[in-house]
């Protein structure tokens, strides 16, 4: 706790110091974009400090095209060079943890799935609570239910899970989760292996909550094809190896559809999915740019950019979310081991 206070104090000091330095020269050196005229003073100071740092490095769980669009827009808006790499949720945790522990985080912040890693990173002092980070006007009217004050972060993107179907095999026949259990799909359901990441646990909890554990045993009786991830699963779907992918990811399905593949995405009303949250690195090389980036992601404009692609819901735009969206934090009760056993999968973990 004390160290966290000291960190935020240090951040504030840093802000003040850089603000003084930048004030004299009238903006960062070599930065082309001006500070927006309508920005309140605290924001102006942050922008100037960020521009002085000139660069931002972040780790992204959102897909590459989205991360790129957001980075480009942010770079253009503030004149800050942005670098990112795209990682899966578990790689991100491994990597960020190792780097933070070595005392030299390569990323100034990450934008990743909400998993047990998020509170863990905070408790180890690897990240800073957004509320304590000195982000101007935080949370600035951000909807309350998307704020996670205990974990020091906020949901900036929701990726509801759905069903991807092969339009030639099952076009129009699948509307909701329970349709998957129709015996005619026996051997044609592609199950994305839930053993690969804990991020699938809330989803299966939702299914249990909606339909009971029988859904899982009946799904097991459907003799599903186990795929090692959403990407290969959707490719298999396109090729006709199976007719249905559960859970499906809309961005991947839409991408294949755009290339002419017979793939469609169905969004059942009841859904949950990866909830994407930012995490500020405590020892970031570019702390001000990172704070400005979080400010941007939580702004109307930035958040819209982040959630421009179909398949992601914006907390600032309730219409972009499925009708009965359930939060990850409310979906507990069935352990991952139980889920794997019910689905007839070999166990990993304790």
């Amino acid at each position: 706790m004390i160290s966290r206070l000291r960190l935020s104090a240090a951040a504030a000091l840093l802000l003040a110091a850089t603000a003084c330095g930048a004030g004299g020269s009238g903006g960062g050196t070599g930065v082309t974009s001006a500070v927006p005229a309508d920005a309140p003073p605290a924001l102006r100071t942050l922008i100037q400090a960020a521009q002085k740092e000139g660069e931002l490095v972040w780790y992204s769980v959102p897909a590459e095209n989205i991360a790129k669009a957001v980075s480009d827009d942010f770079a253009k808006k503030y004149g800050i060079k942005v670098k990112f790499i795209r990682l899966t949720s578990s790689d991100l945790a491994q990597r960020f943890a190792a780097e933070a522990e070595s005392g030299k985080p390569a990323a100034d912040l990450f934008v990743g799935s909400y998993t047990p890693f998020i509170p863990e990173a905070l408790s180890k002092g690897w990240t800073v609570k957004l509320a304590d980070a000195g982000i101007p006007d935080y949370p600035n009217g951000y909807p309350d239910k998307y704020l996670l004050p205990d974990d020091g972060t906020a949901v900036v993107q929701v990726q509801p899970s759905g069903i991807a179907v092969n339009s030639q095999e099952a076009g129009g026949a699948i509307k909701d989760w329970k349709d998957i259990l129709d015996p005619k799909w026996k051997g044609k359901v592609i199950l994305v292996d839930p053993r690969t990441s804990a991020a699938y646990t809330p989803f299966w909890n939702l299914i249990v909550k909606e339909y009971g554990e029988e859904f899982l045993t009946e799904l097991k009786a459907q003799d599903p094809i186990v795929a090692p991830g959403s990407a290969p699963a959707t490719q298999q779907l396109a090729a006709g190896e199976g007719a249905i992918v559960m859970p499906g990811v809309q961005s991947i399905a839409d991408d294949l559809k755009a290339k002419g593949a017979p793939v469609e995405y169905v969004q059942p009303e009841a859904s949950t999915g990866p909830e994407i949250v930012p995490g500020l690195a405590a020892k970031a090389v570019h702390p001000n740019a990172a704070r400005l980036f979080v400010h941007y992601l939580m702004s109307k404009e930035g958040n819209a950019r982040l959630n421009a692609m179909p398949g992601s819901g914006s907390p600032l735009d309730p219409a972009s979310l499925p009708a009965r969206y359930a939060f990850n934090r409310d979906l507990t009760g069935t352990t991952s081991e139980r889920i794997h056993t019910l689905l007839g999968l070999g166990e990993a973990g304790t």
């Binding site: 005392g103 047990p116 890693f117 990441s197 804990a198 795929a227 990407a231 973990g349």
Partner: protein, 572 residues
């Protein structure tokens, strides 16, 4: 005599070469052990005391027996198949008139040029039950409806793909061994009335037993380590493979279950140790046997009526293992996605263009090739020095250093990569996010391959050749530079090619160590895979394969030319 003067005496007796070599070996040992210790020791120590709970947890895994059985069966069966196919290919190419020049020289290595993740995807594109390209093509020919006839997501499918990646090791190492075995042994066998097959079985194979031992060790080592192939092919087959389970334990949730994962890896280490022990014993007992040619050029054995079928079988094997998966990747890259109907008019080069114009990919490709060349060169040279020292010192310290260098990489590369971050990313080294940290990790992770190749190379240099140099007045360094190294060159070049290819396409360590400042191809492939863009994945893999071929094929060809000329007669 006081202890101090004794120490000085000892030091005085060491030559600069020994000092430098020993330091190098110790540095390599430290590079392998230190990062690992940072990750591995922690779960086994609670409150300053050794805690064996992870081992208990590992043994308590409900399906441990299934897991070990599946893994052992896949690694064992593919290893045996690899040994049979690889040494047969080597023998045909080295000793019979069925060889076809450059084709049989280098093409057995081509499947190896395809990074395992691309190979696995290629095979799943080919051999999936319903929509695999191979099944789509075969069904009309065989008059089968529905599914099949091939299913790559099966015991035999996975063993088959493992085998493809094991054969090149055997081929390379056994070829080198055969090249240094006196063909008179075989000619004698033919004179005694034995046919080609009997000669192969009774004479040629026993003569290259040390090489086969080295190949077996390398296969066990890589077999347990292969991750991409089982990760993509095994879940659907219902097979549990240890390398996949370890990664699941490490990445399913945070904090990772490092203890159990490492404990599982200890099982692998145990197996590798046993094979290693058997292999060193074998090397020792047969070191001087079977070799003695005095410059006689082997005359290819005439296979007679078997020549055409043997050639046909080789061509079939090459087509099956190289052309098919590459073809599948080309097709998916031109189609844009995996489809069960190929609309030839819609094929396009979009993915290839996207890949070639993508600056991140260009940079990654360049970095990977440079790292491949640098790390392979450094690694092989270092391995050569270590092998020479280990051979000289025999048991004891030499074995220990050898083990320190060889064993750590049997652990999951994910674990080791995290260790490298902890060891070198922050103070005092500050190598995080640089090419240097990748270089250190790549060299350390690939030392087993490098030292296996250099051990084989040094075992083919008769000790008298270095003795003669010492007698001629040359010191150890000069002897190493002028005699040992040149004589080891063909074997070392083969090892270099292996290292270059695996490093250029590395995925395991790159997943954690590569990033914005040090993008490499393996990492790029992972990014593209996670995005579900098979078309671009295919394009990158093909470009990588082409680029590595352009480096590896000339090197292999040169090594073979040197190896095939009278110059290569490293035995006096």
């Amino acid at each position: 005599m006081t202890a101090l003067t004794r120490v000085r005496d000892r030091l005085g007796a060491l030559t600069p070469f020994q000092v430098a070599g020993t330091l190098l070996a110790l540095a390599l040992g430290a590079l392998a052990v230190y990062p690992l210790a940072l990750v591995v020791i922690r779960p086994f120590v609670t409150d300053g005391r050794i805690d064996l709970a992870p081992i208990r947890d590992m043994l308590a895994q409900p399906d441990l027996v299934t897991l070990l059985w599946h893994t052992a069966a896949v690694v064992g069966a593919s290893g045996l198949a690899g040994l049979v196919i690889g040494s047969s290919l080597a023998w045909v190419n080295e000793r019979t008139d069925a060889r076809m020049g450059l084709l049989t020289d280098v093409v057995p290595l081509v499947p190896f040029l395809l990074p395992p993740i691309a190979g696995a995807i290629g095979w799943s594109l080919l051999g999936s039950e319903r929509s695999g390209y191979l099944n789509l093509a075969l069904r009309p020919l065989l008059g089968i409806e529905g599914t099949g006839p091939v299913d790559v997501h099966s015991w035999y499918g996975i063993i088959f793909v493992y085998t493809i990646y094991q054969v090149p090791y055997v081929f390379m190492i056994v070829s080198a061994g055969l090249r240094n075995t006196d063909p008179a042994l075989e000619e004698q066998s033919r004179m005694s009335g034995a046919g080609p097959l009997r000669t192969l079985r009774r004479i040629s194979l026993p003569a290259v037993r040390p090489s086969m031992g080295a190949a077996a060790l390398l296969m066990v080592w890589t077999g347990f380590g292969l991750f991409s192939i089982p990760a993509i092919l095994a879940p659907q087959a219902g097979l549990d493979i240890l390398s996949v389970r370890v990664v699941q334990l490490l990445s399913f949730t945070y904090p990772p279950e490092t203890g159990v994962a490492v404990a599982l890896n200890l099982v692998v280490m145990l197996v590798v140790t046993l094979v290693w022990y058997a292999q060193t014993r074998m090397l020792r007992s047969t070191r001087t046997a079977g070799i003695g040619g005095k410059g006689a050029r082997p005359r290819p054995m005439r296979l007679g009526r078997w020549r055409t079928p043997v050639r046909a079988a080789i061509v079939l094997y090459l087509a099956l293992t190289s052309v098919l998966p590459l073809g599948a990747l080309v097709l998916v890259s031109l189609t844009g996605f995996w489809s069960n109907t190929v609309d030839w008019s819609r094929l396009n080069l979009d993915a290839v263009v996207r890949t070639l114009t993508d600056t991140a990919t260009q940079e990654a490709l360049l970095n990977s090739l440079v790292l491949g060349v640098v790390c392979a060169t450094v690694g092989v040279l270092a391995a050569a020095v270590v092998s020479v020292l280990v051979r000289r010192s025999g048991r004891g310290a030499g074995m220990l250093v050898d083990a320190a260098i060889k064993f750590p990489p049997t652990l999951s590369h994910l674990v080791i990569a995290v260790g490298f971050v902890l060891a070198f990313s922050g103070a005092p080294f500050h190598l995080g996010g640089t090419l240097w940290i990748l270089m250190l990790a790549y060299i350390s992770l690939h030392m087993p391959q490098a030292t296996t190749a250099s051990d084989a190379a040094i075992s083919q240099v008769a000790p008298e050749l270095t003795d003669a140099s010492r007698i001629s007045g040359a010191g150890q360094s000069r002897t190493f530079r002028r005699i040992t190294l040149p004589l080891m060159t063909p074997g070392l070049l083969a090892g270099w090619a292996l290292l270059f290819v695996t490093i250029a396409g590395d995925i395991g360590a790159s997943a954690i160590l590569a990033g914005t400042g040090n993008e490499v191809v393996g990492f790029r492939i992972l990014e593209v895979f996670a995005n579900g863009d098979y078309a671009m994945l295919g394009a990158i893999s093909i470009i990588l394969t082409l680029a590595t071929s352009l480096v590896v094929l000339p090197v292999t060809w040169y090594a073979r030319r040197r190896g095939g000329s009278p110059l290569s007669r490293t035995q006096p």
